[in-house]
Amino acid sequence: MMGEGLFTGMIVLFWVAEALFGLVVLYWFVTQGFDSDRDTGGGPVELEDSSVTLTSLGMWGLFFGAIVLGIVVGA
């Protein structure tokens, strides 16, 4: 059973994560706009590099790891 400190910390963590998520998306939108015509000249865009894919998969790994850790710590 989680204590009061852990319960409060969990809510704060969710709030901070949500705020970060919102800020990242808003930052992308403000800096990139609607479409990519400006920075690609309307030309072909290559598929993402494998390092980008691996970084994304790494983020998923950390995310699922954090969920498991949360279940163990909050048991």
Partner: protein, 502 residues
Amino acid sequence: MVTQTTGAGLLLVWAVAMIGLSYYIFRRQSVNDTAEFITAGGRAQLGLTTASFAVTWMWAGDILGVPQYVGITGVAGIWMYAAPAVLSSFVVIPFALRMRKLFPQGLTYSEYFIERFGDYAHLVVILVILYTMVLGGVIQLFVGGAVIGGLTGIDANVVMAVLMGVIGIYILLGGLWGSMTTDFVQFVSALVLTLIFVPLLLVEAGGPGQVYDRMVTNLGEQSASFLSMANFSAIEGLFLPYALGLGVWGVVSLATWQRVFAVRRDKTSRFLTIGGIGVFTTIAMYSVIGFVGLAAFTDVAPGNLSIEALGLMPDWAAIVFLLVALMVLGSSVDSYLTAIASLTSRDIYYRHINEDATDDQQLRVARAASIGFAVIIFVATVFALGSFSFVQLLLIGGIGASALVGPLPLSVFWTEASQNRFVSGVVVSQLVTAYLLAASYGVVVSTPSLKLWEIMAIGHLVSTGLTVIVSGVSPDDFRFESIAQERPSVAADGGTEGGDGE
């Protein structure tokens, strides 16, 4: 409770804002051809696409559903609801990258199946996508009619008619650009709910410490299990059916794939990752509503926890909350309506009725379909309100996923998968799952009565197993590069023509 006049005013403000926004993007992005209408030209930027993807996955029902999970199983309800909800974003990544490489000329992912297998497989995929998308719209509108009608006292049918009418008009104007742009505003609104109103509710209830203390007092002996993240008692009833059904529903959802085809090619896995993980944090914040409910009330059913807890907010906050609920609701329904309009234009009209259709003709069909299916979704929801419960609708919506999630990777990675095997896997899986679902509810048949997660698992096993086993007996020898070498009739993917090849 918000008065009918205030409720009508909110609906009017929302309608003017959304239609105005869609008209702006219609003019700004020149949405005058099919590629712009269906895939936003394949050049949408990361922020816009991530926001659109995330808010499409934030269902209005989550505001009721997450507190309900918390009311049933406590803090463990957070991950039991949120983890499956974002599973699709992770699972779809390899297929999305593969599809964008194999089929850069596609406007809908379902068109791939006509190139990979042929007409029959394509028609089967169209049917599955069509009913899952219509059901997705019905589920959202169902919640909208019930919640907004309930909070304002306006007749639910009137609310639903206004919602569908407005959404139909703004999709008619802007297509996917209209959907994604309005989604962005709706995304910001959802952030306001989670970052400002949820903490405000917590403060109204005395702060996290007091909420914790009251929960422990109210729950009594149950507090130990309700305050444990490792409370697995409801895993069969809550987690597994969600993970196996709606949890992977996004993999087959055309709304997901439209955003995959819309975003710049070099940003594909990034928007799915940030969008998916972001949805988890939003859903997790909704759990606070459930905690406040458990702390404030001792005899409220889990399904009513959210409405009762939100009633603790001051009146002005309730009005703003209603507006946010409208935004979140609109984001999902408009995405499904755009998907259906695109499916009708490209997959049904262009691929099967008039292969010589000009781009203008396809665009007209897509726009007509956005209004036609808005009417169909409205009528279906009016019927559903009197015939099904919300949970039943969710379950019926989830079985579509079990038909395609297994065969989809086989069709994009395995050269030996063949049309007849693919079709048999999908069709038999849907029939078996529908039968088992009917039996579990005692509709027409009554045996065998299985748990919901078992039905979903059987659906996945049948669709995947049949495709693998029968294809193994009589294997195909498909050359994937034959698809990528085709010259696109409409350049739609980041300006490229013909793709990268294999």
